[in-house]
């Protein structure tokens, strides 16, 4: 067992005691990354990572992030390091500035060792649409199952044990769903808690910086470093940053958890249901009050359509800057129209173009009322419902997905209840901008299953409290495919 596979607290202790150095960790992470066969990596930033790790010689006792190597999803702007968002339209684009979160992690002395794959421009949930092709689930050596997306590379790199932490982004469920498929802690805080400056936008009203860890403690420590007001992102909150790890070990007695009955009812996977129900019993033993609530099937079934309309509409506008004029591959043309047309025709995959067409269609003058504005109104209705439930509960709790990760070649009945509800409900957290965390629940045939807690706005401390309690119950901290294989758990 390598230091890299320890819990964050054990790893930090080893670093403080100088049993291991940031440089050794970085070299090990780079070695593992080079040997990795999950197609999780867009590119390594080996030289800079080593150079930076070498400067970290005096351990910072109070900074658990000190010297920890990590990956960033390739839709975070990294100065001097090519960033493509796994799209051909950004091939060769080398940003001139660092995203705020990249800067903050550097300030916290974390070592970025490279960039990970994603579904092209973060649009997609399969981890298959990036320009490098499919990213695989580390728990499936046969490479038949997806790891999910869009933060596929970040999920796979943490689950494979390359690094203890990876940055992702979450617009619908792009961190929290793959976290469920990869047996990880996937955290998306309140909208505005973490600056989005430097995150390539997909749909800003839904976009969140989110991240993967293997235990709840690191998830809380990381939020301490990542959150805060940023003058470059006027939507970032001016609320003071708290110590999000302060309540990790607090008693959860009396906390109220609302279970969304409609979601549970739509799930057909018996193993998942059994484990989920068992978790309810365990939570009750800890003094948590559990009650079932109905969200409303019709409203839940409208999530997917509402999400598609709003996210595609915003995306078509956000990505209008990708025109081959200022950056990205230049494909020639005799007029500016031809230059843009050629660059965008060659640069985007069919799936992306389809989303742009949908988004553009929804925004057209004659359709806006019936599609875009209607979706906005429905979003408000959904948010009102969530808030109504949270008036009487501290958390909303549900399985994060209807089961384990699907097959690449899986035939799916896309419009089944299970798909529309259990496979799409995590976007509730994006519509309402509420903090939401996915945690491992167990395994089915060697593949992870996950659950999700969603809390009230800016109550991340409380969310980590229940999450840590849950982790203690499940005993599934520090999961990775490697730890599982080697029996380190």
């Amino acid at each position: 067992m390598n230091y890299l596979d320890l819990s964050i607290d054990a790893l930090h202790e080893a670093l403080v005691k100088k049993e291991v150095t940031p440089l050794e960790l970085t070299l090990e992470a780079l070695k593992r990354a080079k040997e990795d066969n999950n197609n999780a990596i867009e590119r390594l930033d080996e030289e800079n990572a080593i150079a930076f790790a070498k400067t970290l010689t005096e351990p910072e006792v109070d900074n658990p992030l000190w010297g920890i190597p990590y990956f960033a999803k390739d839709n975070f702007s990294t100065k001097g390091v090519e960033t493509t968002a796994s799209s051909n339209i950004l091939n060769g684009y080398v940003p001139i500035y660092d995203a705020t979160v990249v800067k903050k992690l550097k300030d916290a002395k974390m070592v970025m060792i490279g960039k990970t794959t994603l579904d092209e421009l973060a649009m997609g949930g399969t981890g298959t649409t990036g320009h490098l092709g499919k990213t695989y689930n580390p728990y499936d050596e046969k490479h038949l199952h997806m790891v999910g997306g869009s933060s596929c590379g970040s999920a796979a790199s943490v689950a494979a044990g390359l690094v203890p932490f990876a940055l992702g982004s979450d617009t619908g469920d792009s961190v929290r769903k793959p976290a469920s498929y990869a047996g990880l802690v996937g955290m998306k805080p309140t909208w505005g808690r973490i600056s989005r400056y430097g995150l390539f936008p997909f749909a800003p009203s839904l976009d969140h910086v989110a991240y993967f860890t293997r235990d709840v403690s690191l998830s809380a420590y990381a939020l301490n470093a990542l959150s805060g007001r940023d003058e470059n992102d006027s939507t970032s909150s001016t609320r003071p940053v708290e110590d999000y790890a302060a309540d990790l070990h607090k008693d959860v007695k009396g906390m109220r958890v609302a279970v969304l009955k409609d979601i549970v009812d739509s799930i057909t996977n018996k193993v998942l249901l059994k484990k989920f129900n068992k978790s309810l019993e365990e939570l009750k033993k800890k003094g948590v009050e559990i009650h079932e609530v109905e969200f409303g099937k019709e409203l839940l079934e409208s999530l997917y359509a509402t999400y598609i309309v709003i996210s595609c509409a915003e995306a078509t506008s956000n990505d209008a800057n990708l025109d081959g004029i200022k950056f990205g591959p230049y494909e020639g043309g005799n007029t500016y129209q031809e230059v843009m047309f050629n660059a965008r025709t060659k640069g985007f995959s069919e799936l992306i173009k389809r989303r742009f067409v949908i988004g553009s269609y929804c925004l057209m003058r004659e359709n806006q009322e019936e599609l875009f504005l209607r979706a906005q109104r429905n979003r408000a209705k959904i948010v009102a419902k969530i808030n109504e439930i949270l008036d009487n509960a501290d958390f909303i709790y549900a399985p994060a997905a209807p089961g384990v990760a699907g097959l690449f070649d899986g035939a799916s009945d896309k419009l089944s209840d299970e798909y529309l509800i259990a496979d799409n409900h995590l976007c509730l957290g994006n519509f309402a901008g509420l903090p939401s965390i996915t945690l491992p629940l167990g395994f089915e045939d060697g593949l992870p299953l996950g659950v999700n807690f969603m809390g009230k706005a800016f109550e991340e401390r409380k969310l980590f409290n229940i999450a840590k309690t849950f982790e203690d119950i499940s005993g599934l901290a520090d999961l990775s495919a490697l730890n599982k294989k080697e029996g380190n758990l």
Binding site: Y197, S205, S317, N321, K326, Y336
Partner: protein, 476 residues
């Protein structure tokens, strides 16, 4: 058939804020291309807009000067279209909720005042500048993101002169509120006009023609009057006016077809998700208004009250730097009118002759006030003071007193006895003029004063001489 014209104007004003509308890049005109640029201005992925507070303050000030209702919540929208000068592929503007609406301004033509309604004022950002060549185009992003306010009038003007006055009034507001330098020739104030005509008495509007590329106040008047004439002639000869965009061609004095308008472009407006609605407190809005620099109309009124002639007021206020110079000296003289005279005549002559701007002048306003006081209190004539002024301008190290000494200028004689001596001498030598005066020819008086001035070598106070002369004439 008699026609009446219906004219509406859209004015874009570039704000001279320190930084851009949504980025921290400096606003700097005529700098090296692509040196005043932040990542947002080139739409690098991941950049986000942050609203410029000073631009909001400016917009509030202009909206207030135009008697508009000010929205206390700021909303921004995206206007989506592809164009080579538009880096993000959309422009951030205020479509649904402009910062100001329902205002008006007054123009005065030949002493008659007319109210012109203003529909809206909103904030937005400029595009980058394009330089087209034979087979390539250069892009300068210095201008991309420069804050703009757009002011949209109601279609309530009826001729070129009104439109010109309207734009002049807006120019004065943006200039004196410190919002913009308002230079049409340099494009910091741009005006698009919509002109249509209809038979007098008809309620429906005629077909609207847009005229662009108007680069001076005079051209507004000329372009609109030309367009009214063109459209009238079309209708009179049985043809129709086409809905089109035309360009004012300064050289030929004509409007020229740019493009025929088809269905309006769908800009697919929607709210800007990266700027959440911003609430402006009453205090913020009131403070923006209260701290607004004094506007043109207020200064005009104040100068008139101080005794200046309207024409002088207009000359001084036509140049904000001259107005500012004037104000620094006006409290230090007895009669600001005397100061205005020096400024408009001698100072302007000096500046013109040396191709200088008033801001280049080394002469301090306080020093000019000293010179004016030499006339007002020191008994010197205007002419004598002017000589002193030019001497000081030539030799800036000299004080007015030193210059007076160097020029051997002595104070006017204001001793009644001494002046009386000159009066008597002149009257004795000009009996014919006395007769003329008695016969009611007022001109004679002026001639006699002139003779007194000549005899005294300009040293007597002409007003005093005139008074004594009149008394003496009545006695004879």
């Amino acid at each position: 058939m008699n026609f009446e014209a219906v004219i509406g104007l859209e004015i874009h004003v570039e704000m001279k804020t320190k930084s851009k509308m949504f980025s921290s890049a400096p606003v700097g005109f005529s700098r090296e291309p692509n040196t005043q640029v932040a990542p947002l201005d080139m739409a690098f992925p991941g950049t986000m807009p942050v609203v410029n507070k000073q631009a909001v303050i400016n917009a509030i000030r202009v909206a207030n000067a135009l008697h508009m209702e000010i929205d206390h919540t700021l909303y921004f929208d995206r206007k989506n279209y592809f164009y080579s000068d538009l880096p993000k592929g959309f422009q951030i503007t205020q479509q649904a909720r402009p910062i100001g609406k329902n205002g008006y301004l007054e123009v005065e033509i030949d002493g008659v005042k007319k109210k012109i309604g203003i529909e809206r004022i909103h904030m937005e950002e400029d595009t980058c500048k394009q330089l087209h060549f034979m087979d390539y185009t250069l892009l300068d992003y210095n201008r991309a993101g420069v804050p703009l306010v757009e002011i949209v009038s109601l279609p309530e003007m009826s001729n070129g002169t009104e439109a010109m006055k309207y734009v002049e009034t807006i120019r004065n507001i943006v200039l004196y509120s410190g919002t913009s330098d308002g230079k049409m020739e340099e494009g910091s104030l741009r005006c698009d006009t919509n002109v249509s005509i209809r038979p007098i008495g008809q309620k429906e509007f005629g077909t609207k023609v847009e005229v662009k590329n108007i680069n001076s106040f005079k051209s507004i008047e000329a372009a609109i009057d030309y367009e009214i004439k063109r459209q009238s002639q079309l209708l009179l000869s049985g043809e129709k006016v086409r809905q089109e965009t035309r360009r004012w061609d300064e050289a030929s004095g004509k409007t020229v077809l740019m493009r025929v308008k088809t269905d309006a472009v769908d800009y697919k407006y929607f709210c800007e998700p990266n700027i959440t609605p911003i609430h402006l407190s009453d205090e913020f809005v009131e403070n923006a208004i209260r701290t607004c620099p004094e506007l043109y109309d207020s200064k005009k009124e104040r100068y008139l009250k101080a005794g200046l002639a309207l024409s002088d007021v207009e000359i001084i206020l036509s140049n904000i730097d001259m107005a500012s110079y004037f104000e620094k000296a006006m409290d230090k003289v007895k009669n600001p009118k005397d100061l205005a005279n020096f400024l408009i005549v001698e100072i302007n002559a000096y500046l013109n002759k040396n191709v200088l701007k008033i801001t280049d002048l080394s002469l301090k306003p306080e020093t000019l006030a000293e010179i004016v006081l030499l006339q007002e209190e020191g008994g010197l004539s205007h002419k004598q003071c002017a000589d002193i002024l030019f001497k000081v301008l030539e030799e800036p190290t000299l004080s007015p007193k030193d210059a007076q000494k160097a020029l051997n200028i002595v104070a006017q004689v204001s001793d009644t006895g001494a002046i009386m001596g000159f009066v008597t001498q002149v009257l004795d030598a000009n009996p014919q003029s006395i007769a003329d005066f008695k016969a009611g020819k007022d001109r004679a008086l002026g001639f006699l004063v002139g003779q007194i001035m000549k005899l005294s070598k300009g040293k007597v106070n002409p007003a005093e001489a005139s008074r004594l002369l009149k008394e003496e004439l009545l006695k004879r």
